[in-house]
Symmetry: C2
Subunit: 316 residues, 2 copies
């Protein structure tokens, strides 16, 4: 059993590669839910849906989120009623939010709803929300505290991030399935997702960091920063304004106490020695994922690297 920790698009691509490289059902993806929010009375779980659509092979190949070829007739009609849509939702996407909201309201936990939806889409492995409880990322900016999607989508990540709060995280409980999956994992891959707002909430969920510290499986993180820039999203600016170095080294410093290995891009090869001085071993490869073959190739390399770390551990 292989476990991936994932946020949105980058995490979904990594999980997709792992799914392709592994036997059916061998992958469990633990997903950030601190970006989840309510819109038009529906519960939207952006990272869960991006992972689910990607693993089902129906994700929009250009955006990375949403369903490929989806139409926007429902959202257009919502606008006709005087709303001003700021978060793009496709018609097929609405089906996900409608059914999820119906089941959540009926008392079904998010993990069970997610399992049902993912199974219907033919996904062989498991997708686990980090928690069934509600956690909300709040972003402190010079303009005040913003809800995550307000910062991320409505204001297009244009505010300096001065602080990040995961409201509700202390009262949240990690899903039992999450802790079991970490305990039983052969390898754990921290996907190239935003370390602050995607992987951060997963690690902050009570019980998850302790389970990761306890596991004997090698933990390998793939840097989402390549050549000093984020492949997607606001990770670079966010690291900078929060006082971290915007590089694979900066990411390694955040993960050093937790991971056994760091996978960095060939563009960052010169950081290898400095990262290894922090503790983790380093694999240098091409980390920018394009098509499915590319994702699978990176996943296979990451798994092989993790395997070598496990052997190394056994040897010492």
């Amino acid at each position: 059993m292989i476990v991936a920790l994932a946020g949105g698009v980058g995490g979904a691509k990594m999980a997709h590669g792992l799914q392709a490289a592994l036997p059916p059902g061998a992958l469990t993806t633990i997903v950030n839910t601190a970006d989840d929010f309510d819109l038009y009375g529906l519960r939207i779980c952006p990272d869960l849906d991006t992972v689910m659509y990607t693993l089902a092979g129906i994700a929009d190949p250009v955006n990375g989120w949403g369903v490929a070829g989806d139409s926007r007739n429902t959202l257009d009609a919502i606008a006709r009623y005087g709303e001003h849509p700021w978060f793009l939702l496709g018609d097929q996407d609405f089906a996900t939010h409608i059914l999820r909201t119906e089941r959540l309201r009926a008392g079904t936990p998010l993990s069970a709803v997610t399992a049902e939806l993912a199974a219907s889409l033919g996904i062989p492995g498991r997708i686990l929300p980090m928690t069934d409880d509600r956690v909300a990322t709040l972003i402190d900016t010079p303009s005040g505290r913003l809800e995550f999607q307000e910062y991320f989508v409505a204001r297009r990540q244009s505010d300096d991030v001065l602080g990040v709060v995961f409201a509700g995280i202390d009262e949240a409980t990690a899903n039992a399935g999450v802790l079991d999956a970490i305990r039983d994992a052969k390898t754990i891959v921290v996907a190239p997702s935003n370390p602050i707002v995607s992987v951060g909430p997963i690690l902050a969920t009570p019980g998850i960091r302790a389970a990761l510290e306890r596991t004997e499986a090698p933990i390998v993180a793939v840097s989402p920063i390549v050549g000093g820039r984020a492949l997607k999203g606001p990770a670079a600016q966010m690291l900078a304004t929060l006082g971290h170095e915007v590089s694979a080294l900066g990411v390694a410093r955040l993960y050093a106490s937790l991971v056994d290995g760091m996978v960095i891009d060939a563009a960052d090869r010169e950081l290898t020695a400095e990262i290894e001085r922090l503790g983790p071993r380093v694999l240098v490869t091409e980390t920018v994922m394009g098509d499915e073959a590319d994702r699978r190739r990176l996943a296979a390399e990451v798994l092989e690297f993790a395997g070598s770390l496990a052997l190394h551990r056994m040897a010492v």
Copy 2:
């Protein structure tokens, strides 16, 4: 001010004709809500929506319900999740149900939600649900008691109707706006909707029949039965199995104690004397509504007929 009592497609066409024949804002349509139900966690109000789409000029011209040219991508995606859709909902239609459900859950009464939605679509008059309370039509059949949409849509009206129950009607309160509109009306038109399950619940809502009996305005009903057949829907079979005559005379018997006039089709001309013996005066005309001009023509004739009844009243 003119008031129409309406169910679904037939009632919507009549209201549309009245809207076209009257000055902007002069029409108030009181609509049956006993067919309303929950599907996928959303509140669906078929008759309110049919009236709203029709008065907004966006109704599907073939079906009479739903939005013209609507797609079904959300429903198809719902089916991909393993559901078996039995009630057709278009993508634009979903927007209505999503926003309505959001506002109802926030505590906004159905009448206020309906007013907002209708205003956004540019409808000049008022559309009033008969009540803000939940009422549910149940159909007794040889196979047992069925929810209305199960009888009407899922089982395609194939069961004999042995009885009809409006669950919750005794505890329901007519909207104040409904009672005021009836009190202040110059004319009241009972649209050619199903007398049992469309007009029936409106008349059974506490306070409405009494308000109709008190008003000085002439009340005119248009027969939904023409030549012994219903123009649309199960009215004919339903009247028969409930022991009523399936004719404009049978409809007149149901309405005789309430209305001052009956509008019947030229095909039923020979019933005139017998209906007038029950009390109401009769107008014979072409009652089958086709295009908008046709609806407007019938509406103008109905209004003129009602006006003549008012003059007659003043004269006696």
